[in-house]
Symmetry: C3
Subunit: 308 residues, 3 copies
């Protein structure tokens, strides 16, 4: 199982910024290309007031800060140049999702995606949409919003594929400030049941589900991956794995994962027959250009593995 996609963690929620300019980003796209990455997914185009593009909707109507550089333009240009597919990640208001927030995210994302499609669709690498809101437990209002936004962007763009990357509410689904685990992670049965109901309402507008693979114990992962695969097949979607390349088991939150753990997760995904593996994310956690040296060593270990 090879990693063929990565998120681009701009705008970041909890990962410190590397302060790269266009030159450093191009070097990193080259490193991605060298290890077989063909898909880049913008994790979100904005969070609160910080945004990754120069958008009239976000700046003029919602008071976001105009960024010093238009990263969406930069990423699309690099994806064009290196022959990759770019997925545009929608705007996230805050990271938490009550009814008022969902309503506001609706009001922002609908016109925003129209603006984005108008402005950037001339790039041949603009190949899909990523609905960026992350959640796990059954949430019907959220699903209704995701459905409508997915339908909207597909209609806009001639049916380009739509992807989501939810988490599993496992024992490691905890806030970054406290203990590393919680006592009661969700069971695989309950996970299946809740997502079965939610995905039923996303049929036709959702093309791929890339569950995050880092919130359960390594010993539990195989059965969750099998359930995720079954869910996707049942609802006519592709089943991707989001192979997290940072380590959730360490008190520093977060540094690159141990290669052995990544290997276990890739082998489990292969065994479960998943359709594609992407990662959160290359540039901090498995790139030779990362500020974390151990990411470069992870890249070397991974390259040895795929070249065997």
């Amino acid at each position: 199982m090879r990693i063929t996609g990565t998120f681009l963690d701009e705008i970041s929620y909890d990962i410190p910024h590397q302060n790269w300019g266009p030159k450093e980003w191009e070097a990193d796209f080259q490193a991605m290309k060298a290890c077989g990455i063909d898909t880049v997914v913008l994790i979100r185009c904005g969070l609160q007031r910080f945004i990754a593009l120069d958008s009239k909707v976000l700046v003029d109507k919602f008071g976001c800060y105009r960024p010093p550089i238009d990263l969406v333009e930069l990423f699309l240009t690099l994806a064009d140049k290196y022959g990759m597919a770019f997925y545009f990640g929608t705007y996230d208001l805050y990271g938490v999702h009550d009814d008022d927030m969902i309503q506001l995210e609706r009001e922002i994302n609908f016109p925003l995606c129209e603006e984005v499609w108008k402005k950037y669709s001339h790039h041949p690498s603009f190949k899909g949409w990523y609905l960026s809101l992350e959640f796990s437990r059954r949430n019907d209002k959220m699903i209704a919003f995701q459905h409508d936004l997915g339908a909207h962007v597909k209609a806009l763009s001639g049916n380009l594929p739509v992807m989501v990357s939810p988490y599993i509410d496992g024992c490691k689904a905890v806030p970054a400030g406290g203990p590393l685990t919680k006592e009661h992670g969700i069971t695989v049965e309950e996970h299946y049941k809740q997502w079965d109901a939610m995905l039923a309402n996303m049929e036709g507008v959702l093309d791929a589900v890339a569950f995050q693979d880092g919130h359960v114990e390594y010993s539990e992962l195989a059965e969750f991956l099998a359930a995720n695969k079954e869910l996707a097949v049942k609802h006519g979607m592709q089943s991707w794995t989001n192979c997290e390349t940072f380590d959730r088991d360490m008190p520093i939150r977060f540094l690159p994962i141990k290669w052995e753990k990544m290997l276990l997760k890739l082998e489990a995904a292969e065994k479960a027959g998943l359709d594609k593996a992407i990662t959160f994310e290359f540039s901090h956690f498995m790139s030779p250009n990362s500020m974390y040296t151990s990411a470069g060593h992870l890249y070397n270990r991974y390259m040895e593995y795929i070249q065997k």
Copy 2:
């Protein structure tokens, strides 16, 4: 708005040490010089038993550890060589300030500053004093101590300037071990009122106030900076900004700030008409020599900005 000063974070309270010797420090003074820094401020000369100079007062009378190298001598020598102004940061007992501590800090700092002036004032770069105790809410005993210590060092040194760098008790003024924010940050009105009272009692002994700029939301910063400027003008002081170059929004406490955030803060300080910008601090968070690679990239982004 350019950064023309930096703290030297020796002795550090919460930032891991880089283990630099004289050669590494000289390289960093060269990097500071190259980006326009003309002022270096020792954050404190000691904290508890760890101290940055070989002091009879601190070692013989108060049981501090004699350090392996006299950093005050080193920093003054480098400041002489590179044409910078050096501000000496006073001793901090513990980071918390009850009445007993303030009394003890008084007993230590008065003779200490006399010793320091005798020992180091031959350096042409010895240009000012930094009163290192950090606080935010109105504290009359602390202000009385700061007043007396400021008067004392001015009398010692032929009226050299005295500077402080308080924090704003905003929503990000929280301990490093828990959540990233608290619910009730101070209002700008209350902040103005409390510091108006405190600065009234510092007139004549305080030359510059460099409020830290990282404890409030980015969207609140402009009004706090305007208040800080107004406070300084009213009380006949210079208004500096302490532009923090580490990121308070991330679970790793602390790594270099995102360039976009730093830029927002510099632009806000310029708009508020502040007199000078210094940073906490260059060597860890915006230096090409930093142990954090993203600090070097921040330096590059900043250099592009000032060379535009």
Copy 3:
């Protein structure tokens, strides 16, 4: 006092992995050799399901993951090549030690050590055993287990030396997720009393005790080291110090220690007359190859010190 030994932190409990392969490990053994290290101690051969060797006992009987590389074989080969003594660290089930866990650790470690001795004892560098369970307060069941396991491995191996490295339950003996200190650290008298009782039951099977030196205040260290020395002499053991080279006083858990602190600890150990100094651990915290640049600077400061 020089550092002549280091732990090898595989499998790690709370330190992020560097993702080194054989080439990087060999470079690090060379750096160890260059600074006088003659002893390497595997911190543990396994923790939960992750293990550092290809072991029938652990994989077939206890469901551990077969690792991508046999690190025990690699470390022994490098220790052979560079003329070092290798201590094999036993298996740790979980990091906590109730009666059931101790029983299970007994069932695992006895056959495991037999397998290990059979498989790896041809390496001339296999020179000792490290009982990896870490505890501090009096625990008679644990001591009974440590005694029996120590006797077992000595009998297996022709009386090779056995070492432990307990911690002192001082004010810095706290979990990595919360505050940096607790209010009531153990007194030196109580520490002496509890370990006097425990070591009495380890006589004849324990050759060296290397207490960790990082859980007490710097100002308390001298008296704890003196007590540790006295305990070892009384019970006919060697007294080593485990000089921690990471910093327990900083909110990032953990980065390399400040050189001045390490120097204080080494000087205190020398004054207490300890027999040997080892460190936890070279490769992350004082190696020029470490992912943390400040570890390389610590190495340089240490080399200047030993070459004086």
